[in-house]
Amino acid sequence: METLVFQKPSSIQKDCNVTFCPGCDHGVAIRIIAELLDELNLVEKTIVVSSIGCSVFLNDYYNLDIIEAPHGRALAVATGVKRSKPDKFVFTYQGDGDFASIGLGESMHGLSRGEKVTAICINNTNYGMTGGQMAPTTIIGQKTTTTINGRDPNLQGYPIKICEMASICDGAAFVARCSLDSSKEIENTKKMIKKAFESQINNQGASLIEILSTCPTNWKLSPQEAHKRIREELYPVFPLGIYKDKTSK
């Protein structure tokens, strides 16, 4: 007899219509989070903080309580949510621009304060939603609509290293960078998010998972080429790994 080995997680909307561009990794991140909510039995106590970027329409996907944070303010909103309802499970879902450009202050302070929330930051090295402008994470030489000759450190400075900076924050319990460029990395990303979620459940502090993710549309690459770019161009600048782990202590 057939057994069902894969199905849509329970918190995904019944007739969920993913509106990301074809091959965009955002959708994978959204799915594995939903799977973890099932696995950790969190569905009915979760409050999601969505953010402004391609992920703004989280409510199209999740059948969960969701609050939309203004651009960059997800960790401040999450702080308000968690402080008012300490028994709920709270995570943010943000782009790299949201988290590390306009929201860098809120992000680092949220981590430093050790808010018992988890931040998921989808790093696609550009501003997807607004049409592919330079992001704080755009790597040197990368072409975007506001760096058509490639990012030049003399003009536009250097990329922000999200996990490296976050791991300086004493309130952070778990910080890791992962990627969705292959099946193996998808598995690993899920493991990392799980550790982050558990650190929240165990009240150990703030957690952050930075996920290297594709933006085929604005990178002007096929989904396959985009994954290749992650491995070849982004890995060297943004090494994967656990940057901080206070959970075992």
């Binding site: 057994t3 959708g27 989904p223």
Partner: protein, 69 residues
């Protein structure tokens, strides 16, 4: 012995699933769905699919809605 259920209306034809299938039984289609996207289809005459679900876990659009083994 496995089987995958693909919701073609949700498929956007990124063909990421095609690349990850160890059995190479997912194929690039040349037909549009109603949204104007090419879609993937299963070509598994020898019942090679063994339900590893790699395709479903790779699909960014949750278009592979179920995998059976």
């Amino acid at each position: 012995m496995g089987r995958v259920v693909i919701d073609k209306e949700k498929c956007k034809g990124c063909f990421l699933c095609v690349d990850v299938c160890p059995k190479k039984i997912l194929k690039k289609g040349t037909n549009y769905n109603s949204k104007g996207n090419y879609t993937v289809y299963v070509d598994d005459p020898n019942n090679e699919c063994f339900g590893c679900a790699l395709c479903a876990k790779r699909c960014p659009d949750m278009a592979i809605t179920e995998v059976y083994r």
